[in-house]
């Protein structure tokens, strides 16, 4: 049980700045997800919290204590790696017990703790197996088990589900969420998958090129993106962006409208566009239309509505409230 504070944390590798000052206050038991595109510095940030990467400037505090100089083992954290990083020559039991053995935990307590973690993660039948004899999902659970048995103050996850197939990913996502609720351990979770971020997070941090663009509850961030980047990154299919002038907005540079906020009609509304192609997904249909000057616009509508045929001209309409206006600096106006 712990709080975690990042206070203007920066990181440079030689001359290249990778993290440009990140501030977060994580409260006890909170599940924070850091989401952003590849290369934006998510792993670097996480590794700084873990103590695997030095901190160029700023301060990291766990439970109010500065840990900048502390070794990884002194920080009372546990980390789940993307490739699981299991010890390939040890059994599942030994993998989970490793940290406890080093901490000189009594034998019977080790056995008890590993047993209860194995029960929680449904790993009991596999305790004597080697990692190579397990499926991807089982390895994932062992990695989680190894983190759990040490009862750390903070869990760190670096894209733990990205090596799993789509179905398993959804299942493990749920399991991780339940587990974290059950144990109530403060968690920092890195992913580039926005669905994972939306579903797991109590609060999420959207990172963009080493800067935390926005921190907030998933729905808040979705409904109220503070920058053009966040509006474009969170939400699938992505927000449509149009020049402010082209939709009659006099302030700002760009206007963003989410696909589900546009209605298609035969009668004139705001803009005319020609249907390029449709993707019928069952419950919903994505209609891609081309504006006269060539830009593609995506509209999401209910699957029960008739499919517009390709090549027909339709009108795009939306409420004023649906428009998200961004200035030249990419910030919300």
């Amino acid at each position: 049980m712990a709080t975690l504070t990042l206070d203007n944390v920066r990181k440079s590798f030689g001359a290249t700045d990778v993290i440009h000052g990140v501030n977060i206050e994580v409260t006890d038991g909170e599940f924070i997800v850091i989401v952003g595109p590849s290369g934006c510095g998510k792993s670097t940030l996480l590794r700084m919290v873990a103590g695997l990467e030095g901190i160029t400037s700023g301060e990291i505090r766990i439970d109010g204590h500065r840990v900048n100089e502390a070794e990884p083992m002194e920080r009372n954290i546990a980390m789940v790696f993307q490739n699981y990083a299991l010890y390939p020559h040890m059994s599942v039991f030994d993998n989970m017990a490793y940290g406890l053995k080093i901490a000189k935990t009594p034998k019977d307590e080790i056995a008890a703790r590993v047993a209860s973690a194995a029960k929680l993660l449904q790993l009991e039948p596999y305790l004597q197996r080697k990692p190579r004899e397990l499926s991807g999902g089982q390895r994932q659970r062992v990695a989680m088990g190894r983190a759990i048995v040490r009862k750390p103050a903070v869990f760190l996850f670096d894209e733990p589900l990205s090596n799993l197939d789509a179905k398993l990913r959804v299942q493990m996502r749920l399991e991780i969420k339940q587990l974290q609720r059950e144990l109530g351990v403060t968690s920092l979770y890195v992913t580039h998958d926005q669905v994972e971020a939306m579903t797991l997070a109590d609060r999420m941090i959207v990172m963009n090129a080493g800067v935390a663009d926005q921190i907030g509850k998933p729905l808040e961030v979705y409904e109220n993106p503070q920058t053009e980047f966040v509006a474009g990154f969170i939400g699938s299919p992505a927000t449509n962006f149009m020049p402010a002038g082209s939709v009659g907005v006099s302030v700002g540079k760009t206007v963003g409208i989410r696909p589900e906020h546009i209605q298609l009609t035969d009668t004139p509304t705001r803009l005319k566009a020609r249907v390029a192609y449709c993707e019928a997904l069952g419950a919903e249909t994505l209609v891609h239309l081309r504006l006269p000057h060539g830009q593609l616009i995506t509209v999401r509508q209910g699957g029960h509505l008739p499919l517009p045929s390709e090549g027909t001209d339709l009108w795009l309409g939306w409420h004023d409230a649906a428009m998200m206006v961004f200035g030249a600096d990419g910030r919300r106006i």
């Binding site: 695997l52 070794e71 954290i77 990083a85 940290g99």
Partner: protein, 254 residues
Amino acid sequence: MFVPDPFGLKTQFVGLGNFEYLLGDPYYRASFVTTAIFSSLVTVVSMGVALYLAILADRLIKGSGTYRTLLIWPYAVAPAVAGVLWMFMFNTRVGVVAWYLGLLGYDWNHVLDEAEAMGLVVVASSWGRISYNFLFFLAGLQAIPRSVIEAAAIDGAKFWTRFRTIVWPLLSPTTFFLLVVNVVYAFFETFGVIHTITAGGPQQATTILVYKVYSDGFVGQDLGSSAAQSVILLVLVGILTVIQFKFIERRVHY
């Protein structure tokens, strides 16, 4: 299985006589002990130093080539040349090292002192192997995923514990491979070094089996005995290799 008469005019069939004679020969048995000591020392020294250097290098480099190249060059020096070099350095009259040892009050004389002679051929033989072993160890170390080491660090293992419980076991396939290769090397390929530095002396103190094959056969002209020795040597290495591979199968598992 044949013994020529003293003038080489006739050969007489003696069956396994050469083998019987050999096994009763105290000099031959002593040569076994010498070989055992010599090859264990060469293997331990060359692998130990190589592993130490590889660990240092593994921490230093992630991909850069210069340091590695720098450490390859002793391998390029042919073992015999290395032998000559070592012999000069330790030469009782003109050698640099021998001279310094003399200054320190140590009377170096590997021509007379058996232990010193053994030490010298061991060092000279190991020297050429270090780079080879180093490269394999380095490759082995670099093949261990960094995240596994990091996970161990987070689990609370300090450097030495990590080495003992993670790195060493994961390195064991490399280690066993090198063990086989180095023992075979020490058995056979050290001939040049021994020939140039000590010629098997003093008093056979550095006459390993392969050198005895040469000295009995070509110097002593006892071809029968020499041939028998070759056969024994061959069988021995075969057995050693099989044992080591059996051992590997049991120990190297993951």
